[in-house]
Amino acid sequence: MFADNYYYREYQRLLVELHALIAAGRNQSSEARQLRQFMERAEADLVEEEVVRLNALSADLSMTHDREIPDSDVVARVPAHEVPRLIESAYKSGKWEDILELLRVGASHLWRADQVAYVRSRAYEGLGELAPAVAFMDEAVRRVPNNANYRALALRLLWQSKRYQQAYSRARDYLADANTKPRLVLMSGGIVAQRTMQIPEPADLNTVANVAVPRMQQALPLETSPSLIFAGLVSLGLLAVQVDDMIAASNAFRDALGVDTISDEQVTSSWTLNRELELVRSGKAKTAEERSNARQLAEFLQSSPVAVTA
């Protein structure tokens, strides 16, 4: 896979940054010039096939500053009326490269721009290329700012791509905003809960966790998806431990154990969850044993579902 080459990934990251500067009207800035120089350095370790592919990514990213144009090669090869059927078929079979290429015919007559950005994000994620996946989900958010699903997915992608501090900062802002939709509150709480397992802790972690606990308690009754309720309760329990609210922690872990079983992860994490409840109830919260157990629970949260699926 292309993403296995460190320089390929580095170039992708630089490309995403450069397009962001261009979108901000800073194409001629010193930062943009410096990024191009770093790109030249990375090019020395790329093969031609990789350059071609990165050029195609650059063309895709042009949508973030409204400069995207169709790829004449794809337009010449693929009849326009076939595109919807081909994309649907490629989507069903997870042929991410094909989807990306088909979208280069200019898909504005098929989908709204936010949907094109969303599909591109899913495709790059499917290819394991997270820097563009985040960029396109952020583009979907930019196009439709009040879509909480896009925001939740962008948050998850940021975390998956190990940009922990950025994910944490966004989650903190969502939790502080009274207008944030319940699902995004739960997702944000999950990010903060996972952050409690990392060292060093952010200086404001306890403050943020103290905000998160009541917000999650308010959001959970509004959620209908059992898998999201389960993940939300586990997150709430971990956050309550963080702020030394052992009653809230016990309640959350107990309630999580009572949620209808709907996923493999839920079953496989139940032993760890039981153990966590037992440790909290017996006054062993924040001991080395409990922290080790809590880390395993937090790992479960990483694979927990988000609001929308493909």
Binding site: I22, R36, Q37, E43, A44, N55, S72
Partner: protein, 139 residues
């Protein structure tokens, strides 16, 4: 390359008419030996065959000025740069003058190198002497 009075700017920095050597902060185009001569290892100034779409697909898009993004998908280059062309012959490894030769390194990339042993100063002079032969050719 950047422009200077209607022609490519002569220099030893990125996107200038010349080569970069040891000490450049980003890249090195040629290696110079202890006696000041350019090592004849095929290194030189990067060039591309043409601006037809098939070649443009293979040229890093940072080299195509952003102002062409409405014609060339993904262009993200510095708008102070221009695209220049020299000569009309085939893009093959062969001499381009008595002192310079083209070394084709890939389908869409080549290097203008010294045709025989010469000092770094002489190579820069020879490259600079091609300045009148370059013309802007933009898509």
């Amino acid at each position: 390359m950047y422009e200077d009075a209607g022609k490519p700017r002569i220099g030893d920095d990125t996107c200038e008419l010349g080569v970069r050597f040891a000490g450049h902060r980003i890249n090195v185009d040629v290696i110079v030996d202890a006696s000041g001569n350019v090592v004849m290892d095929g290194g030189g100034m990067s060039v591309f065959p043409s601006i037809v779409p098939a070649d443009l697909k293979r040229i890093p898009k940072r080299l195509i000025p952003l102002r062409f993004a409405n014609r060339i998908p993904g262009a993200i280059g510095d708008d102070d740069m221009k695209i220049w062309t020299m000569g009309a012959g085939p893009f093959v490894s062969e001499p381009v003058s008595a002192t310079l030769t083209l070394n084709v390194t890939g389908r869409s990339h080549g290097l203008i190198c010294p045709a025989h042993a010469m000092s770094l100063t002489d190579l820069q002079t020879e490259l600079a002497r091609t300045q009148p032969d370059w013309a802007v050719e933009e898509p």
